[in-house]
Symmetry: C2
């Protein structure tokens, strides 16, 4: 009837959803989610599996400015916790039957660790964190490109392995600061409006963070107009750039991309800025507590499905949406149509009482 992957009009999708055995529109946001799956996959038989959550980790030189409560050492500790299967993302990956992969592309310690940990892939490690974006470019153009290419490569491998649903997550102490810079820069938002408390900043830390973001954005803003890539590199993170590449490649290959929170949406902003059209395959899982997240989602034209006040990262919000994707796909593919009902109960069926013979 329809060729998977070919464009399917929104009318065709809406007609199909309305033909199912329920009052039209009565499944609300689940129908919107189902419609998104159909549109992106180009089929009325959408799939929510195989799927994969790929976590990217990196550290941030800007932590020297004391913009966060937690020290950079926590990044490595959380990588070990994830590898031990005991972090929040592991719990939600398990409950949603979503395979998890973990790539360290730029933690402080990643370069010194030569143990072959079976669950932390450091083969694409680039450098020991970014430089301090408050005073200099966090990444050079080349480092940024290298991180993007790592993300693209990992997405390409997943495509070859048959993954249909792509989700990215991040771990990196200090990464709400570059995310705020990227959001302000790309969305043209006031820096105050995109700076939040991250993993729990005090008023004092919050004020410092605002100053740092303001300073960095002011410095790179002129560059952004003439050389967006170089400007974005200057306020980016290694894990953020890798996610941008991962998202862009998955989208280019026609796959569904499920965004997580503020950091990953900043990566999505990079992808859409440098490779316009990437956003057409994005689904926003949730809207986080970070004030910049709503601004970034608006800029991408995305309406989130969950408003759960999350602010953890690690891909947790995207993982929460996974079983709801299952529900959406199942709804489209398993329900009878209103027309089918006639065959289930062989007699005249008219949905309008006024003309019903009883």
């Amino acid at each position: 009837m329809t060729v998977p992957g070919s464009p399917l009009s929104m009318n065709t999708i809406a007609s199909h959803l309305d033909s199912l055995a329920k009052p039209p529109g009565s499944l609300g946001q689940l129908e919107r989610l189902a419609g998104e799956l159909c549109r992106i996959q180009g089929t009325l038989q959408p799939r929510s599996t195989p799927r994969r959550m790929v976590l990217f980790a990196g550290d941030h030189g800007v932590v020297a400015e004391r913009v966060t409560t937690w020290p950079s050492a926590i990044t490595e500790i959380m990588l070990q916790t994830i590898a031990a299967g005991k972090a929040a993302c592991n719990a939600l990956a398990q409950s949603s039957a979503t395979p998890l992969a973990l790539f360290d592309v730029g933690s402080l310690e990643g370069g010194q660790r030569n143990e072959n940990h079976p669950l932390i892939n450091r083969s694409h490690w680039i450098r020991a964190g970014t430089r301090n974006l408050a005073v200099e470019a966090a990444l050079t153009r080349d480092e940024f490109r290298r991180a993007v290419e790592v993300g693209r490569l990992i997405a390409s491998e997943a495509v070859i392995e048959g993954v249909e649903i792509f989700a990215g997550g991040e771990m990196g102490i200090g990464n709400t600061t570059p995310a705020a810079c990227l959001t302000a820069l790309i969305c043209g938002a006031k820096t105050d409006s995109v700076v939040g408390r991250g993993a729990g900043a005090s008023d004092e830390i919050l004020n410092r963070k605002r100053q740092v973001v303001d300073q960095a954005v002011s410095r790179v803003e002129p560059l952004f107009a003439c050389d967006p890539e170089e400007a974005l590199a200057a306020v980016s993170g290694l894990e953020i750039a890798a996610i941008a590449g991962f998202y862009a490649e998955a989208s280019k290959r026609g796959k569904v991309v499920v965004l997580d929170g503020f950091i990953t949406t900043a990566a999505a902003l990079i992808a859409e800025t440098l490779w316009p059209g990437s956003r057409k395959n994005f689904i926003a899982a949730h809207r986080s507590v970070e004030p910049g997240h709503a601004i970034a989602l608006d800029h991408l034209g995305l309406t989130p499905f969950l408003e759960w006040n999350l602010r953890l990262g690690e891909g947790t919000g995207a993982l929460l949406l996974m079983p709801l994707l299952d529900a959406a796909a199942m709804m489209v593919t398993r329900m009878a149509t209103l027309a089918d009902l006639q065959s289930l109960v062989p007699r005249q069926l008219d949905p309008h009482q006024d003309s019903h013979p009883g």
Copy 2:
């Protein structure tokens, strides 16, 4: 450490959630959901299975007033569709791995059908729909009590079979009208504020429905003050009364009860009115489009987890919450604590950068 079923203070629960390896509160609503599971089950090792969705069906004499777009014949057609595994509830039950049971307690045709359908249990069928609540009592006190007892019995059997999570759903053309009457009566709300379009009423139908609800509520209001049970019976439904009994019994036995939409929440209002305290075990899965639903949830002191503009019934909203209950339970039981992190990485760990030796 704690005895399952014994009361657990909210402080104990909050401390435990805060001790997990994440910034305190950073999983937002998922933590609230996890806290509810812990509180109701009286344990820090909560479970989201075994669970069961029990659907109750019944018809409504008030359909004679043309308060709905769909004829009563649709009730039986949907029962057959559910039995054939092709309704919305089947899709969501399958995607959330929730066993489904279906009891016809009062459809128009249930009394005449003596086939032993393996998937539609009619052994507790009471009568062929309610009387027209616009002009007379929908149910007598005895009929109402019988329906409540059926619900209690079904809940008791599920308790014996080990079910921990109880969800109810409904199928019954016309049942937003009794639900509106029950909500207005119990919450003391203006009738206009609780009447919505149900499965898709036109303006004309909506106006008739408002008049009918107003008329019925005005008639039974004086009775409600002196004999609530008789008054509720007069504007109830067989499936609604059965759900009220099902919820009340599950709650009394200490089990978690997941509410669905407007109709099932009207049943929850009955349960709380006649057996106060029932609500302590209720979790509100979602807030539906029906305007009376928010009023009913407020009255019960419940904050819903999903705002997905659902208005289908069949337990679909409760089924969507099931995988999120899995996530909540998994979060509490599988995550490392902040204290555990020290053992994962054996060196000094201080979450505050200011005092960190680096």
